[in-house]
Symmetry: C2
Subunit: 224 residues, 2 copies
DNA sequence: AGATGATTTTAGACAAGTCTAAACCTGTTT
DNA sequence: AAACAGGTTTAGACTTGTCTAAAATCATCT
């Protein structure tokens, strides 16, 4: 029951289970974890059993893994560190939003509670990371934002881009090229039945987004 | 001959050999390395042989380890990262100078050339870390400072504290209590033959330093 | 229900880095 | 020169996290 220090690998597994769980209450499958962690299913089974021993997740053979409250808390702390470091890299060091992830992936494993508290203060207690994802507070509370993907908006609806569902370099660079950054105000002009693509309007442009792209842009819509 | 990525452990060994070599051209003994790295002599032998295979150091049985040019360059890069992170922790996050070492010990292993270049720029290209040690430039050049320990100063000599030889928490906290920080101007009033203790004068105080303490404070003396 | 195919687990192996215990050098003393 | 004490290396073992290959289980379709 006491707080044991986690290895880098254990932390990565907890984070993966957390992010693959989403809001659901279902177990995460071995193969999904293997894909996410770029490892083999057998390795996942081993590690998941080990983490179950430590009471960080529930595990029954063939049923997948589900975080315990303790495991979830640990995962959220790692997410918190990751996102704070991303803010640092972007705001202070000037990295582009598609460059911050890999380095934050390393920085999130640095062990020091005090470091993160001071970093958070230094950054001015940011609420969101450069991709628009919320930063958990020191106690692990997450303030979610009400937003919907562009693909679900109807013609005439307006809102502000608050985040992305895909943080891959190529997608983020595409958005940069289209001048679609966090905070951009957009309105939906038309949705084409044919291929579900969406025409939107910004202050400067009209742009047509493929269905795939429109699913990956999150917008906070004005409640009129 | 190509640049292979180093493990955390390998980096720590190179750094230890580098720092234990000082200016001498002698090999560093297995047991000195074991003490520094808080490990056993047999482990050191294993690793030192491995690093010799990789041409990062020269090693002959029973003769100790000596860095090759490539090993030295790698060691200096780690030192550079360590000291830049120390500046960040002290200047930007407000950690005391005795608190920065352990966290920098972790941060120094983050892999990203670009990160360090940007961090250096962000910090305003500092020349020295919070303990007064010089920060190597991106090419590994180190600008040493002419300084001497207080223990070698004669009565009447004056200078400015530029560094410490001992970065232990207890020593640094002692200096804080005596209000002896980097940049403090001091002059030597008297050296007591009896126990080699030194009486010094600052703008505000007269303080007597034990021989042990006086050996560990580095001063840049005015050449009159 | 039985067969098929995909997923998952087990078993055994490996590399890295460490350890203990035993064997081995080296330098100095007698 | 022999003996001793220290330091050093070797040999063998352990842990962590990974892998491959084989066995087990689950899901689905006929």
């Amino acid at each position: 029951m006491t707080e044991q220090p986690l290895t880098r690998s254990e932390e990565n597994y907890l984070k993966a289970v957390y992010s693959l769980s989403g809001n659901t209450d279902k177990g995460v499958s071995t193969s999904d974890l293997a894909t996410r962690l770029e490892t083999k299913a057998s390795s996942v089974t081993d590690m998941v059993q080990k983490l179950a021993e430590k009471n960080l997740l529930h595990y029954r053979k063939y049923q997948g893994a589900k975080l315990t409250p303790g495991g979830k808390a640990a995962a959220i702390q790692i997410v918190r560190k990751h996102r704070l470091w991303e803010v640092f890299l972007h705001e202070k060091l000037g990295f582009a939003w598609d460059e911050v992830h890999d380095i934050a992936e390393q920085l999130e494993h640095i062990k020091s509670e005090e470091l993160i508290l001071r970093l958070e203060r230094f950054l001015g207690h940011p609420k969101y990371d450069p991709h628009g994802d919320p930063i958990p507070d020191p106690d692990g509370r997450i303030q979610a934002r009400r937003s919907m993907p562009v693909s679900e908006m109807k013609p005439g609806m307006e809102g502000v881009i608050t985040g992305v569902r895909d943080s891959s370099s190529s997608f983020l660079q595409y958005l940069d090229k289209q001048q679609l950054v966090l905070g951009t105000r957009i309105s939906v002009v038309e949705v084409f039945d044919y291929d579900q693509s969406v025409q939107i309007e910004t202050a400067d442009n009209r742009i047509t987004l493929s269905f795939d792209v429109s699913k990956n842009i999150k917008v906070q819509v004005e409640n009129g």
